[in-house]
Symmetry: C2
Subunit: 189 residues, 2 copies
Amino acid sequence: MRAESRKEEIINAASILFKEKGYSAVTMRDLAKAMGIKAASLYNHIQSKQEILATIIIDLAEMFTNGMNQIVNSDENTIQKLEKIIDLHIDVTLRNADGLASLNNDWMHLEEENLQYFEKMRQEYEENFRDIVKKGVARNEIKSFNIEIIVFSTLSTLRTLYLWYPKQRNIEAEMLKHDMVSVLLKGIV
Amino acid sequence: MRAESRKEEIINAASILFKEKGYSAVTMRDLAKAMGIKAASLYNHIQSKQEILATIIIDLAEMFTNGMNQIVNSDENTIQKLEKIIDLHIDVTLRNADGLASLNNDWMHLEEENLQYFEKMRQEYEENFRDIVKKGVARNEIKSFNIEIIVFSTLSTLRTLYLWYPKQRNIEAEMLKHDMVSVLLKGIV
DNA sequence: GTAAGAAACTAACAATTGTTAGTTTTGTTT
DNA sequence: AAACAAAACTAACAATTGTTAGTTTCTTAC
């Protein structure tokens, strides 16, 4: 396992604090205390509080974007693509559940270019998702409910995984993937 | 339509700002500007910033608690109860979508008694939900996937409605209820 | 038109914020 | 042991925060 750089340690500590109280409510003194140093010392490793937030969010958003691009460019059927999207969310959640809190709740505190970049990625992600569902309905692979409702309902669950999965001690990733596919696609009744 | 008191106007304006930036990032001067007055003038109507947050969140949490208690104490079957829970979330969302942002994202900034009261209500709500699903599985009204996954998945979608529904111009409440029941209970495949 | 309450205002406060400058300590390499 | 970089420190800053005190203005009822 690669040794973490001091900067990475700070970003990980920040992810946890941001998850607990949100970006705006966490002060640099809070973060320093969590690291066992003084606030001014943080600036030997990072440029600003904003840089921390941007690093957390943009890295994660790019993971989703890259994952979705691979899925879109594959020649699988709709159900297989949806299964891969579920896999993608579970994988990213397992890798960085703390950071996903910032992506979901604090993206609006990004500044200028990073905010625009993030919003563009998010919009394209949702459009790719919607197109997959739309084609699925057109090909009768998916029931023809309102498309927006299907997209919203599925995406809500996947986006909120970060809040829930870390609390579950006895659910394996494979079991989660399997049951999640079933629940989201085939229903519970 | 009943005339809004000045205090209610302030709380509604605060709900919108809290939704956009979160409780911690909204200053009393931001709120005053949105009301067209100076920050100090707010204190003729409210006691503190914290009181505003507590009012928004506790009122909504009590709506959910009361709604859930009615459902639990009814003698309907599992599917009917789940449908009523979906109805409840849609109704509360339609009534106060802005406030739900605070309930979902800023509850941890409540202080002392209100924080405890909220956490108690939330925990009981989730337990009631879980019990309904559990009974449904035991009676073979619901497929026997992992219960936690079913509860999490359904609740995630319902809790996130506030983010999504206000943006939909051409979805009627009745149509939303119908398709949401179908998607969540019967699946999309 | 005056009394009274509601609702706005100005001015200021003490505390906290992110950040910088300059200095000292720690740890490693020669 | 000397040299050097990494990483910590102290002290302070200008701006912003929620809130209070005291005062003025607006609205309504008699």
